[in-house]
Every structure is written in structure tokens, then in C-alpha cells.
């Protein structure tokens, strides 16, 4: 079942086309990653999906009653605004103690409830944002460069958490990332975006695609193979699978 279907989406910002003729769909419980260079419209696409950006053309269809959890890019909280993690999780609606406790535990941030948001490290902050997105028991989790500013072990741990969540909660994940090597391996499908959809498919398929190589070069290949080595689950490979990766494992 498609949770979200995008047909022929176009967005113009200040007269400039940012996205043109984008088609995209996200299925139940799949992890879809959007990659693309700076200014390729990745964040704009996510913002259009959550309703923060009005499309200039095309349409976005959500499944009826779809529950979406959204993790924004690093959030800036003005230092003059005092707010604890607990209070932050109670926005925009007050929720029961059990609800926010469970969400914090799921996000791996169970011990942070009483801490001021301003005193959290980058990784802790992202986990709190993740906890917030989990509170309405989402069917679709949307993450916008959620690991910006984290070091490599930190972001790898974060993405492992996402995979665990997908397994435990059965939610679909749509995310944007810069960290090609980590994200490519953790995704079911990858969409390479540069104002339009350049190519899409399984990570192996996209990594081989000419359009992808033109944007990112071939340097990420080795890292992809290395990363896959750490994972003991198997992906359903597409038809364009390159078996040389398996050899590296």
C-alpha cells in the first residue's frame, strides 16, 4: 500500500524552479533515501510533503489518516527560551507521561527527560527530535538530514536505531542524507535527486547508474561495500545488482 504518492510535483522558489516533475511513492515499512547535491531540492521536497511548502504544480496524495513523524534538520532553539526535554515532547499537545517516556526509550534517549534542550549534545538532541516524531505512533517517519553535525560513529548509530525502529514499529522511513555510504546501505530504495529524479532503485542499482556517478563520482563504492560487511541482513536486490559487492563481503 502506498502511504504517500507524489505525481509530477513542481516547486518554484522566488521564481526559480527547485523541483520539476518529481514522481515518488513510499510503501508501507520501506526505507527510502533521497540523495543529491546541495541545492538539489531535497529539503524542499520533504517540506512539500509535510505541508510547509506549497507546490506550484502536481499533487501529493497521502493515505487516508496517515500519521507522519517528522524529524527536522538541526533545530535552533534560541538560548533565551528555556525548555526541558519533557516540556518539548509535550508540544504541540500535552501527552501522558507513559507516552513520552516510551518515545524517549525507543529513540535511545530515556535518561534525558529532565535536561534543558540547550544543554544537549548534537547526538542527544537528534534523539530527542526522533522521540518527538515517534510519539504519534507514525506510519511514516520523515527525516531531513537528521545526522548533520554528528561524527561518523554517531551517525552510524543513529541510522542503526532507525532500522531497529522500522523493524519494531513497522513504519516506513523517508529520509534525506548527505552521508551516501552509510545511508545507501541502510535503504531499500534510493532516489537520486537534482531538481528532478535522476535515477532511482535499489542502492546497488543507483550506485551503478551513470547519473549518480556523474553527481557523486565513483568514490563511495568502496565504503558501500565495507559498510554492507557490517550488516548481516540481506536486501532484496534489484535487477541491476552488481555482484562485485558481494565479493567484497
Amino acid at each position: 500500500m502506498n502511504l504517500i504518492t507524489i505525481r509530477d510535483l513542481s516547486v518554484r522558489l522566488g521564481g526559480n524552479p527547485v523541483l520539476s516533475h518529481v514522481d515518488l511513492s513510499v510503501d508501507t515499512a520501506e526505507i527510502v533515501t533521497i540523495v543529491g547535491p546541495n541545492g538539489s531540492g531535497k529539503s524542499t521536497l520533504l517540506r512539500a510533503i509535510i505541508g510547509a511548502q506549497k507546490p506550484t504544480g502536481g499533487q501529493i496524495t497521502r493515505a487516508a489518516g496517515l500519521r507522519v513523524g517528522y524529524v527536522p534538520q538541526k533545530l535552533h532553539i534560541d538560548p533565551t527560551l528555556p525548555i526541558t526535554v519533557e516540556r518539548f515532547l509535550n508540544l504541540p499537545h500535552r501527552v501522558s507521561r507513559a507516552t513520552w517516556r516510551a518515545a524517549l526509550d525507543q529513540a535511545g534517549a530515556g535518561d534525558l527527560a529532565g535536561r534543558p534542550m540547550a544543554g544537549l549534545s548534537g547526538g542527544q538532541f537528534q534523539r530527542v527530535l526522533l522521540a518527538r516524531a515517534l510519539m504519534n505512533d507514525p506510519q511514516l517517519l520523515i527525516l531531513d538530514e537528521a545526522t548533520q553535525g554528528l561524527d561518523q560513529p554517531g551517525s552510524a548509530a543513529f541510522y542503526r536505531q532507525i532500522e531497529t525502529l522500522r523493524r519494531d514499529l513497522g513504519c516506513a522511513v523517508l529520509m534525506v542524507s548527505h552521508e551516501l555510504h552509510v545511508v545507501m546501505a541502510a535503504s531499500d530504495r534510493v532516489i537520486c535527486l537534482n531538481g528532478h529524479v535522476c535515477c532511482h532503485g535499489t542502492p546497488e542499482h543507483v550506485a551503478q547508474a551513470e547519473e549518480y556517478r556523474a553527481l557523486f563520482g565513483t568514490g563511495t563504492q568502496g565504503a558501500l561495500a565495507l559498510y554492507r560487511h557490517d550488516h548481516n541482513h540481506s536486501h532484496d536486490h534489484g535487477t541491476c545488482e552488481d555482484h562485485s559487492h558481494e565479493a567484497a563481503e
Partner: protein, 268 residues
């Protein structure tokens, strides 16, 4: 004969009305970095005074209309222009300049300009008191009603969108509240010092607070304390009341900030 016959009690009640509504709104002004926005709206009020005299309507109505116009204009522009800081500077100061010129052009009307620039709290009538508390009640009601949505939109417009809240709408809620506070406070502290009643208590409350609600509550307390102490001191030393209230708030802010800094040093 009631206790409202005493002008000091009327002044105190007027000041408290302004303090209790301005302080929580001031927290949003501080959190959202809208200090200049408050200035521009307040300064436009003097133009409202001139227009009210020309059209022979109530000063409250004139001030409210012009402040609302100014605040919505600035809010509408803030979505587009990137040079907000400059734009607000231009609007804040030209609003007061045009207002002063307009007042001087009024034929046959003699008004006490100082009373509008710095307030005239001791001359508050029973009617003024009703207007002040009516307006203050509306501001407090508006903030309580929209509190959760306002906080969410302040933290992140995108988070608000994702939760089905329109941050633009919340911005307009603040805009209306701001215009109301300006219209209510002009009699008490005057257009030049309204922004001070918004910002200083909120800033002074920050070191004590761990949650937004606590900060708003403490800010209201500091605002109320400043009003009462300011009234008392201005009576004792025969100083202008509006500025004396702001002085008390500023001294409280300085003491609290110094205390917080010292505590931070010893703790660190």
C-alpha cells in the same frame, strides 16, 4: 466613594494591567527576536494619537488601528524581505517622526506630547482603567488560548507545519496581541518605553526559568514588582513615573544578570 477614587490605586492597577499582559507577550518577543518589531509597532502609536485627534475618535481606537496596521505590514513583509533589520529600523523611526510632525500640524489642538511619549500613569481615569484591563484581559486570554501552538511555531515553523499548525497564523496572533498591548500601555509608559515593559521583565526572568511557562510567570512578577516599586519611588522622589518604572525593571535585570553570571562562574 470607592477605593478607585484614590489616584494612586488607579495608577497601580493600570500599571499592573500593563505589566501582567506585556510580560508573557514579551517572552515571545525575546524568544523570536522581535525586539525591533515591538519598537516599530509602539512608535507607530504616536501617529495613531494624531489621527484620533483629527477624526475626533478615542485615542485607544486610533492607536490600536495604526499599531495593528504597522504590525501586520511588518509581519507581511517579514516573509519576503531578507533585510528585516534595516527595514524595521526604517519603519520604527519614520513612524515616530511622521507621528510627531502630524501632531504638530494639528490646528487648534494642544496636546501634552510628553504624556504620550513617556506615559501619564498618574492621570489614569476610571474609564482608562476599564480600557486597560479590558485590553490586558484580551491579550492574556489570546496567549493562554494559543499558548501550545505559539510555542511550537516559535521553536520551529517546520515542526508546526508537520503538526498541522500554520506558523503564519500564530505570527498574526502575536501581531494582534502586540498592537493591543501598545494601545493599552501608551497611557501608562508611553510609546518610547512600551518595548521596555515587553523585553526587560522577560529578559530578567530568564535565569530563573527552566520552562517557558515559568519564564512567563516570573516575568509577570518582575513586571508587577517594577510597577509598584516604580510608583512608590516616583512619588517619593518626584520623578516621572513611566521612566521610573522602567528604571526599576532595568536595575532588577542588571542585578539578576550579574547574580546569574557570578553563580555560573563559581559553578563552572
Amino acid at each position: 466613594m470607592t477605593f478607585l477614587d484614590d489616584f494612586l490605586i488607579r495608577s497601580a492597577l493600570a500599571g499592573l494591567g500593563v505589566a501582567l499582559s506585556a510580560a508573557p507577550l514579551g517572552c515571545f518577543v525575546v524568544w523570536r527576536r522581535m525586539a525591533y518589531f515591538g519598537d516599530a509597532t509602539a512608535h507607530a502609536a504616536i501617529l495613531g494619537v494624531a489621527l484620533a485627534l483629527v477624526f475626533d475618535t478615542s485615542v485607544f481606537g486610533g492607536v490600536l488601528a495604526v499599531s495593528l496596521l504597522m504590525a501586520t505590514t511588518v509581519t507581511a513583509l517579514s516573509g519576503r524581505a531578507h533585510t528585516m533589520d534595516t527595514l524595521l529600523g526604517v519603519m520604527a523611526h519614520s513612524a515616530i517622526a511622521f507621528g510627531l510632525v502630524a501632531v504638530s500640524l494639528l490646528q487648534g489642538v494642544r496636546i501634552d506630547l510628553m504624556a504620550y511619549l513617556f506615559g501619564d500613569i498618574l492621570a489614569v481615569s476610571r474609564g482608562d482603567l476599564a480600557v486597560i484591563w479590558g485590553g490586558a484581559g484580551m491579550v492574556i486570554g489570546l496567549l493562554v488560548w494559543r499558548w501550545q501552538a505559539l510555542l511550537t511555531a516559535t521553536l520551529s515553523p517546520d515542526l508546526a507545519h508537520a503538526a498541522g499548525i500554520n506558523p503564519r497564523r500564530e505570527q498574526y496572533v502575536l501581531t494582534i496581541a502586540l498592537a493591543l498591548v501598545v494601545a493599552v500601555a501608551i497611557k501608562v509608559v508611553g510609546v518610547l518605553l512600551i518595548a521596555a515593559m515587553l523585553i526587560i521583565p522577560a529578559a530578567a526572568a530568564r535565569p530563573f526559568a527552566r520552562t517557558p511557562e515559568r519564564m512567563a510567570g516570573i516575568a509577570a512578577g518582575i513586571g508587577a514588582l517594577s510597577v509598584l516599586a516604580g510608583l512608590r519611588l516616583s512619588f517619593q522622589f518626584d520623578t516621572p513615573t513611566g521612566p521610573t518604572i522602567v528604571c526599576v525593571a532595568a536595575v532588577l535585570f542588571a542585578l539578576i544578570s550579574a547574580g546569574a553570571a557570578l553563580k555560573g562562574q563559581t559553578a563552572g
